[in-house]
Structure formats: C-alpha cells, structure tokens
Amino acid sequence: MSRIEILALINKVLAANGRSETRDEDVAIRDAGFRSLDFSEVALRIEDKLDRELHFEAGSMRRIATIKDVIDFFENAISADVD
C-alpha cells in the first residue's frame, strides 16, 4: 500500500467519525482529532485490504505525534511483514 492510500484510509476514518479530513501530514494527531480508536480502525482496514495481520512494535507506536508518523508507522508495519 502506498502512503497516499494510507492517508486516504485515515481521512475516510476521520470523515466517517464526524471529523475533518486532513491534507497536511505534519498536523498533530490530537489537532486532527485522530484517536486510538481511529488508529485501531485504520489498522484493521489495512489488514482487511492486505488479507493478513499486521504486527506492531509497541515502542515505535509511542513515538507517534503527527499524521505523518501514523503513515510512517503503517508503511513500516506493512513492509516489515512482507520481509
């Protein structure tokens, strides 16, 4: 999955939950209203799309502050699983 597709999924989840979509990757997740439930939903939607489970590293999850970090995190999780 590309970064654009991951951002599109993030925006889909934000919009479905009554919040504004974002184009600015540097916006803080708190300002974007992107919460742990949204994170979890995006993870499941990626898993559904790829038809496999993702494995997360708790340490890198704690470093997430912006939407860019979220996209980086999923990009890494997807490629790590492929290796």
Partner: protein, 421 residues
C-alpha cells in the same frame, strides 16, 4: 383439559381438525400407550401433527415425556437423553430408536414434561417442567376467544405456552403453519381468521421486511405477544402503529425460570417499581444482573428460590432495560464499556432500521471495536450513505466509542430455528 371442543387448523393437513387428530393418534399409538407408562419416553416428531399428537398421548397416559423435531435429535442429544433414562420413540416409523446408551428409567414421574433448550450457548440442556408449571394462565378465567398463529418449534418452552393456552383455556384455537414457510403461513393465516400471535421480535421484523404493510394492516389483529429475546421500543412502536387496536404485550420468560414478567404498557423493559419489593417480590437486581423467582419455574427450581438469570439489566429512570447476556454482553473498547444491546436498541430507533446486531471485533491497540450488521426497511433500502447516516444518528445517542466502526448491510433478517437472532 377443557371440555369445549378444541379448534385446530393445520396448513399442511387441512383435513385435520382436533377430533381427527385425536382419533388418528389413538389409532396409531393407542395400543402401545400402556407400554410407555412407567418409562420415560421422548418423542421424535416429523412435523407439528406428530408433536400435538404426542401431547395428547402424554395427557391421556399421564406420561413422563418430552418431544422435539426428529432433526434435533443428533446422536449426542440421543445419548444424553438415554443417559437421563429416556427411550426415544420415532413417530414417523412408530418404532423406538436405538442409541449408544440405552435408556433405563430409574426415576419416572408421571406428568413430567422435559424439554431441550435451544443450545445457542453450548450443548442443549434438558429442563424439566410439568403441566402445572407450564400452564401459566391456569388461574385466569374468561380469556378472550382467539385464534393463535403458532410459529414456534415444537417442544420449546414458547411452543408449550401456546399448547397450554389451547389445552386449558376455553375458546382458544391454534393455526399451525407449514414450518418451511412461516412468514408466508403467517400472512395467509391473517385472511383465515387468525387474530393473535405470539412470536419473537426477529420473526415480526422478518414479516415486516417481506410483506406489504397494507396487507398486514387489513388483518383484524387482537393480541400480540412478543418474547424470547430482548423486546425493544422500536418493534413495539412499529407493531402498535400497524395494529393500533390490538393488545400488545411482551413477556420475559426462559425455559428454566418460566414466565416471570408480563408487560403491557407499550414500553420496552419493565417498571423499576417491580424491583422495589425486595425479598417479598419476584424480581431483584444484583450486581447489574436480574434475579427472578417464579411459581412457573422448572421442577429443578423451587418457587421460592431466586434464580440468577444471567441477563444484564440497567435501571434508566423509572424503567429497567435489558442489556444482554452476562459474559457476552459487553465490549471492551480500550478500557471503555460498550453494550451491544444498548447500541442495537438505539439503532432500532432509526426509522429506516428494521433489525440490527452489534458484535465485538478484535482490534489492535484497543482490544475490540464494535461492528454492526443491519437490515434496512424496504423504504430505507435505498438510503444513500447509510453507514454515515447511522453513525451520525448513533453519535447523538451513545458514547463515541460505542459507535460501530464496521458495517454490514444484509438483505434479510438472519433467524435461528427458534426464531431468534
């Protein structure tokens, strides 16, 4: 048994009135009836005719018995019946069925009626009643004359409730449909004098989904009884709107506890005032769970004993509302509680939602997320962006974390053989 002639309509066998049914039962099995006395006999029934004949024979012979559709009697069930001392009689072939363990009737109680639970939460259990605990209207007189549609599977607690009404109350007729087309049978029964029905909310939703409202509205429905699963405000409102002159009641009952609460004020749940009598009453709340004692409880429970029902309830204002079964009723969403029954009830309050089921889906980080399956009404089937609209609708009614994250829209209401969902 009442002396008044009983009226019966079998859709599958229009020639079978009550007298024909009884005469046929006696002709088929009268000769072997004496052999069943002093044993425990379980009737494997091919259809509703077999089941009613088994009841008539049980009454005639004061038998220690049970019955179920033959297809429910798998080898496991047959073995557990045999270990309880039952011999299984196949009504179709007129022969005893063999099982791995042969029944040995050590403890025979004339008039005992044993029934299998639905087994939705594990292997079916055997619950014992008698005609006294099953006849919940025993003390009432002058019950209005009615013709009842019987959608329930023979041998279940709800089915026996209908049968007892027919057996022990004057002026009650039964309409037994073809079990393979219950909804079609219900609709056609309305033109043939049926003016009362006892059913689950799932069954009535199925009827509403598949039948033109105008056709239903023409029926002269007098009495509607709902039970078997949580009865929500939306289905009560829909049915009272459809048949405004009818008596609409909902019953809280289980095979083990028997009938315990009857509500007739058109509102979901039951009045909180019923809890206030404490130990003198019939209902108690303990740790969010409902405790019941009922004189109609099964034989393993004494009438003065409190039974933990396993049903979660919540007091909201002057009402006690059901929140589902303990153990499966709560979704943990990142440490916050979400109750499927509460979310489903809120969804059903949307005018275009006919049926809803909310479940947990295992999710990373937060543990679980709620997911929803929904059936829209025929007029709502074209609802554009239903997922967004229903999410917005819910956000005004339940906490954010309880709004389902995944949606599936089904064409039909998925119902189990016991007409629940």
């Amino acid at each position: 048994m009442s002396t008044e002639a009983k009226t019966l309509h079998f859709v599958a066998r229009p020639d079978f009135g009550f007298e024909a049914l009884q005469a046929d039962a006696t002709a088929r099995f009268g000769r072997i009836l004496p052999e069943w006395r002093g044993t425990r006999v379980f009737f494997a029934c091919g259809d509703g005719v077999d089941a009613l004949q088994a009841v008539l024979l049980a009454r005639l012979g004061d038998l220690d018995m049970g019955l179920a559709p033959a297809r429910r009697l798998t080898s496991d069930v047959r073995d557990s019946l045999a270990s309880a001392g039952f011999r299984i009689f196949d009504m179709a072939s007129g022969e005893m069925l063999e099982s791995a363990q042969q029944g040995t009737s050590l403890d025979v109680v004339p008039g005992r009626v044993s029934m299998l639970t639905s087994g939705t939460t594990g292997a079916p259990k055997l619950i014992e009643h008698d005609w006294g605990t099953l006849n919940t209207l025993g003390g009432e007189r002058g019950y209005p004359r009615r013709t009842w549609f019987v959608p329930y599977q023979p041998g279940t607690y709800a089915w026996y409730q209908m049968i007892c009404l027919w057996l022990f109350q004057d002026g009650q007729a039964l309409f037994v449909p073809d079990e393979h087309d219950l909804v079609g049978g219900f609709v056609s029964s309305l033109a043939r004098g049926v003016d009362a029905v006892s059913a689950t909310p799932t069954f009535m939703r199925y009827v509403l989904l598949t039948t033109e409202e105008q056709e239903l509205r023409r029926a002269k429905m007098q009495t509607l009884t709902l039970g078997g699963e949580i009865v929500d405000q939306a289905i009560l409102d829909r049915l009272s709107h459809l048949w405004p002159g009818s008596t609409l009641r909902h019953i809280y009952a289980s095979t083990e506890v028997g009938a315990a609460i009857v509500v007739q004020d058109g509102r979901e749940g039951f009045p909180a005032a019923l809890l206030e009598r404490g130990d003198a009453g019939r209902l108690q709340l303990k740790d969010g769970r409902l405790l019941v004692r009922s004189k109609f409880a099964s034989r393993s429970v004494s009438g003065s004993e409190w039974v933990e029902t396993g049903d979660l309830v919540e007091v909201v204002g002057d009402r006690v509302l059901f929140r589902g079964r303990a153990g499966s009723a709560m979704i943990n969403v990142g440490g916050m509680k979400a109750f499927p029954a509460e979310i489903e009830a809120a969804l059903l309050g949307h005018p275009e939602v006919l049926w809803a089921r909310v479940r947990a889906r295992r999710a990373p980080l937060v543990g679980s997320l709620p997911t929803a399956q929904v059936v829209l009404t025929p007029s709502g089937a074209g609802l554009s962006d239903a997922e967004r609209q229903l999410s917005d609708f819910l956000r005004a009614r339940v906490p954010d974390h309880a709004v389902p994250r995944f949606w599936e829209f089904l064409d039909v209401v998925p119902a189990t053989p016991s007409l629940k969902s």
